[in-house]
Structures are given as structure tokens and as C-alpha cells.
């Protein structure tokens, strides 16, 4: 398989955007998906349950030292999520990065170091520039970058900032992203 993992960074408007993408994915979707969604430090993880209702693939919070396997993982609130070379998760309580913990850059940069060209990075709606350094690193390591079209994103700032920093492989609407993921991960399987 060409791609080993997919990382997604999203901020304001995230729940809706993730729902749209995840509801398009079939149950046999084998590539692990790892998500950083900005949420407040005091927030509960109830949004994960909401998200679970609208998709077939199981979604869970990433645990420290857990092996990355098939399914959707989200970073727990108040922790940074990193990926080790042995494909396990690490959590840290380091300072906020771009005012965020979890931070998209932290996940993307460590994932890029680990998966190199076998990584897909996706930036969706958001009102800050977290993730911009992350997509740069993904590109430097040879991975694929997809950015939501800022013109139709609920918050254009984050996707626009990513596009200003790198030339994404795809700039697209939310409903196209799910289809593309199916296409590239399936075609690589054949």
C-alpha cells in the first residue's frame, strides 16, 4: 500500500467537516486516520460520540503507547499527540503550540518524520495558522497534502495559511475529499 496513514487538522467548524468526510468512508477503509481537532482544555470528549454516530469506522481517543492500527484516532483534549517511529502514539503535556494543545503542527511534524512519503496530510476549516508548519514538513518528507477550499470553508484562515506556505497536491471541497481518499487508498491496494 502506498499510503500508511492519514493525518487531519481542523479547528472551528470541525465537527461538521469531519462528519462529511467520515460518513463517505466505507467500513473496509484500512488506512489509519489520526485527527487533531482544536477543543478547549475543559471540554469533554462527547463530540467523539457524536462523530461516531455518523460513520461506520470506529473512532476513539488515541492512548499513549497504543499501536496505530486501522480506524480513526483523535487526540485527547489538553495533550499533544505524536507518532513514534515504531508506529505507536505518544502523548505530552508540553506548552501549547500556536495557542493549541493538542496542536496540529506537533502531530503533523512527528507523523511526517515517521511515515515520510507514505503520509497524507489534510487541513480543513479553522481560524488560526496551526498546521501550516506541519504541512510544510509533510511536503519536505515527500508526503501528499490536501487542503479544503478556503472559499467554501466555514473558516478560511487555516486552509488559506496552509496554501500560502506550500503548494498542496489538492485543494478541494469537503465532499470530494472522502471520495479522493477512497480512490487513492483503494487504487494503491490493487
Amino acid at each position: 500500500m502506498r499510503y500508511e496513514a492519514i493525518v487531519i487538522g481542523v479547528s472551528s467548524g470541525g465537527l461538521k467537516a469531519l462528519r462529511l468526510i467520515f460518513s463517505a468512508l466505507p467500513s473496509g477503509f484500512a488506512t489509519p486516520i489520526i485527527v487533531v481537532q482544536h477543543i478547549g482544555p475543559r471540554s469533554e470528549n462527547s463530540w467523539i460520540k457524536l462523530l461516531n454516530e455518523s460513520c461506520i469506522i470506529p473512532i476513539k481517543e488515541a492512548d499513549e503507547k497504543e499501536k496505530v492500527a486501522t480506524g480513526i484516532y483523535v487526540a485527547p483534549s489538553n495533550y499533544h499527540l505524536l507518532i513514534e517511529k515504531d508506529r505507536t502514539f505518544s502523548l505530552t503535556v508540553d506548552e501549547r503550540v500556536n495557542f493549541a494543545r493538542p496542536s496540529i503542527d506537533v502531530l503533523f511534524e512527528s507523523a511526517a518524520e515517521t511515515y515520510k512519503e507514505k503520509l497524507i496530510g489534510i487541513i480543513l476549516t479553522g481560524a488560526n495558522n496551526d498546521g501550516t508548519k506541519g504541512v510544510k514538513r509533510i511536503k519536505e518528507c515527500g508526503g501528499l497534502v490536501i487542503v479544503q477550499n478556503p472559499a467554501t470553508a466555514e473558516s478560511s484562515y487555516m486552509p488559506a495559511s496552509a496554501i500560502a506556505a506550500v503548494q498542496p497536491d489538492h485543494i478541494m471541497e469537503l465532499d470530494q475529499i472522502g471520495q479522493l481518499l477512497i480512490k487513492i487508498t483503494l487504487s494503491a491496494n490493487i
Binding site: 475543559r42 492512548d63 499513549e64 503507547k65 485527547p76 495533550y79 505524536l82 507518532i83 513514534e84 517511529k85 505518544s90 502523548l91 505530552t92 503535556v93 508540553d94 506548552e95 506537533v106 511534524e109 512527528s110 518524520e113 515517521t114 515520510k116
Partner: protein, 274 residues
């Protein structure tokens, strides 16, 4: 050899150098974390090569000390994770009340906020005067700040809210005296706290603890090191003693999960079996 392997190797060599020259052993810490911190130091200093960082560590003690600060993350709060402290009040205090003298160890206390939080709870529960709190860290700079117990007003606001949400009903500011833009914790809360430099990786056990709180330290360790440190914690507790871990930490990958009962599973409070 591929490029990737050599940069990994360079980091390993840097950690070897650091250990053999200064005694701080980061070789079994989360490598993704270590790499991130080294890259960040390289960005700040404009050094673009890990091998150069290594030689600077060996030849420049001040620089080595800066890197130590980078690698040891001292981020903390008073009453961090309010539910944890609620559970301490509800599930741990009744156990502690059965002892005539109480010894509590905060392993990896950073700048002291966690030890002061527990001190406040003990005070409110009438247990402070028969308790000794040992608060340890391997970062001397953090310990020095912990001893002072001085917090900015911005921090104080956050902590006061945390305190309330954790079930505190007294007036939080009564525990401090205020001086311009900062609060200083009362001497009456400091007096039974012993601050000490202790390295969980290379130093030995603390005897006969009734409770050990080691939160958000073990997440930085790999599985083997977690196991080694859990042994140290286990041996430092009396039978029936209580272990409190961070919300994302567990005994799952260690040899010790069967040796404790769960006092509060979700909030990671365990009781050593008799």
C-alpha cells in the same frame, strides 16, 4: 546508510553523550518528544546539525543545561484535572485519615503546583499537620521555583477557577499573600513540604510512602522505562498505599497492574494490594 537512520543515530549519540557527561539519562524517553525538543533548540540557536549539538553539549555546560530544560517539560498547574482532585477528596482522604502519620511523595513535582494543591486539600481535611510531603524532581531550576511558591496573578485566576471546579469551597485567595502582581503561598502550607532533587531513572526508592503522586511524567518514558520506574514506585509504597497517575497514564504495559486494586479507574487512582 539512509539519511533517516543517520539522524536517528545522531540523536542516540547525543543522548549517550549527555548521560555519560552529566548523568541525566534520556535514552529511554519518547523519541518523538526528544526529537521535537532538539529540533526546537536547533531552530533557536541556528545550529542545523544534531552532531554539532552533541559537541556543544560536551563542551559547553551552560548549553547542556539549557537542553536539559528543553527536555524536561515542567508545565503544570494547581488543581490540574479537577476531577482527579475531587476523587482524591472523596476516595483517598478517608484512607489517609486512618493513619497517625502520613507520608506523601510527589514524584516529578515540577514547579510545585501539584504539591501545593494536595497541601490545601490536606489542610481543609485536617490532615496537614500530621503529613510530610516529599516533593521531588530532577530539574533543580524547577525545584528552586517550587520552593518559592510564587505565582503571577494571571496564573492565580486560572488556579482559583480550577480550585472551585475541583470541589474547593474555601476562599482560594486566603491561602496566599499578595504582592503587586503575584501571590505567594502561605508559610503554613509550605512548612511540611520537603523539596528534594531526585531522578526517577537513576536514583533509588523512597521508603514507606502512604501515597505517591506521579502525574504526567511517565508519559514521556518508553514502555521499558515505565516498567522500571513503576517498580521503584511500587517498592516505595506501603501495602495499602495509594498511587495516583495522570489521566492518560496506566499500569497496562507494566508488570504491576495486578499488584494494585483500582480505587478510581477513570481518574487513575490505585491501591497497592496487601
Amino acid at each position: 546508510m539512509r539519511k533517516e537512520d543517520s539522524s536517528e543515530l545522531e540523536i542516540s549519540l547525543l543522548l549517550e553523550a549527555f548521560y555519560h557527561k552529566y548523568g541525566y539519562d534520556f535514552r529511554q524517553y519518547s523519541r518523538a518528544h526528544i526529537r521535537r525538543r532538539i529540533m526546537s533548540r536547533m531552530g533557536l540557536t541556528g545550529i542545523s546539525d544534531v552532531a554539532l549539538i552533541q559537541s556543544k553539549v560536551l563542551n559547553d555546560q551552560t548549553f547542556a543545561y539549557e537542553l536539559l530544560q528543553d527536555l524536561s517539560i515542567t508545565v503544570t498547574e494547581m488543581f490540574r484535572d479537577q476531577e482527579f482532585y475531587k476523587s482524591v477528596r472523596k476516595n483517598v482522604i478517608p484512607v489517609l485519615k486512618t493513619y497517625p502519620f502520613i507520608k506523601i511523595w510527589h514524584a516529578g513535582c515540577a514547579t510545585g503546583q501539584e504539591a501545593y494543591s494536595v497541601a490545601i486539600i490536606l489542610k481543609e481535611e485536617g490532615l496537614y499537620d500530621r503529613t510530610t510531603i516529599y516533593a521531588t524532581d530532577f530539574n533543580q531550576q524547577a525545584l528552586d521555583r517550587a520552593k518559592e511558591g510564587i505565582f503571577s496573578n494571571a496564573m492565580m485566576e486560572e488556579y482559583a477557577l480550577n480550585y472551585q471546579l475541583s470541589g474547593g469551597i474555601a476562599s482560594f485567595s486566603d491561602y496566599f499573600t499578595f504582592n503587586y502582581d503575584r501571590g505567594i503561598i502561605n508559610q503554613s502550607l509550605k512548612k511540611n513540604i520537603v523539596w528534594a532533587n531526585h531522578n526517577l531513572v537513576t536514583d533509588s526508592v523512597f521508603a514507606e510512602m502512604n501515597m505517591i503522586i506521579c502525574r504526567n511524567v511517565l508519559i514521556y518514558f518508553d514502555i521499558n522505562l515505565q516498567n522500571k520506574v513503576q517498580k521503584l514506585l511500587y517498592e516505595s509504597l506501603i501495602p495499602g498505599g495509594i498511587l495516583g497517575l495522570g489521566l492518560k497514564e496506566s499500569l497496562r504495559f507494566t508488570d504491576y497492574s495486578e499488584k494494585y486494586t483500582e480505587l478510581d479507574k477513570k481518574l487513575r487512582l490505585f491501591k497497592k494490594k496487601y
